[in-house]
Symmetry: C2
DNA sequence: TGAACTTATAAGTAAACACTTATATAATGT
DNA sequence: ACATTATATAAGTGTTTACTTATAAGTTCA
């Protein structure tokens, strides 16, 4: 891996909101409308963060009906390092469990 | 470690020139005038990169006469991760050995 | 077909970033 | 004291970043 490549990976990871997104994805795959309930950010802002993460190949997307389901890319060269890095960060205040309790968890089967 | 703190660490690391600097420091401590011989960058540019790395506590400085000797901070919370990350990057073209061969290695005892 | 819903994109903006050149500060050696 | 050497800082610049609001595009379902 060259220096420019590594730089682009680290820049994609190195934002507190994107790390929060990645932390959520460590537990389970989510769509953008769920992130808008979990994180205090507008839908376009989240969408643009997902695009950045996708460009760095840190996440993958799968279209299901009107939803786009985002997942961590476990084949990324930095995946093991990313998991370790995220493990150093605290669990977010709002959990997916609260989403479920509020009936806001998306079920796109 | 909180998200903002991690962001500031990753932003300090996530620049190709600073990673090159850190890669050199993995082998041995160096001063800025040596970096100017190793890396195609002006002295103020290097000095400003060192300041960023110092603010993130990734490096430490020691004044010796007119020189400032820079070293990796092995007590940094991300030090183990940093070493692993740098090990994924190729050795720089210009080595410290070439500096010695050219009589440009600083001896500040 | 059309309303509701989910997501993506476009355009604009303020702040941060990585440099540049010029200059200041500080230590060394004659 | 003075020239040399090493480093830091200041000021300016073009680019990138992370957002905002507005809107477009695509899917679902009555």
């Amino acid at each position: 891996m060259d220096y420019i490549q590594m730089e682009s990976y680290l820049k994609a990871i190195g934002d507190h909101n994107r790390m929060l997104i990645l932390k959520y994805l460590m537990t389970e795959s989510l769509c953008i409308c769920e992130f808008t309930e979990l994180i205090d950010m507008t839908q376009p802002a989240i969408s643009q963060h997902m695009r950045k993460l996708k460009q760095a190949e840190l996440v993958t997307e799968e279209k299901r009906g009107r939803w786009t389901i985002w997942s961590l890319n476990i084949r990324h060269p930095l995946y093991p390092m990313l998991i370790h890095l995220l493990s150093l960060l605290p669990e977010p205040e709002r959990t997916v469990a609260t989403l479920v309790a509020e009936g806001k968890k998306v079920n796109c089967e």
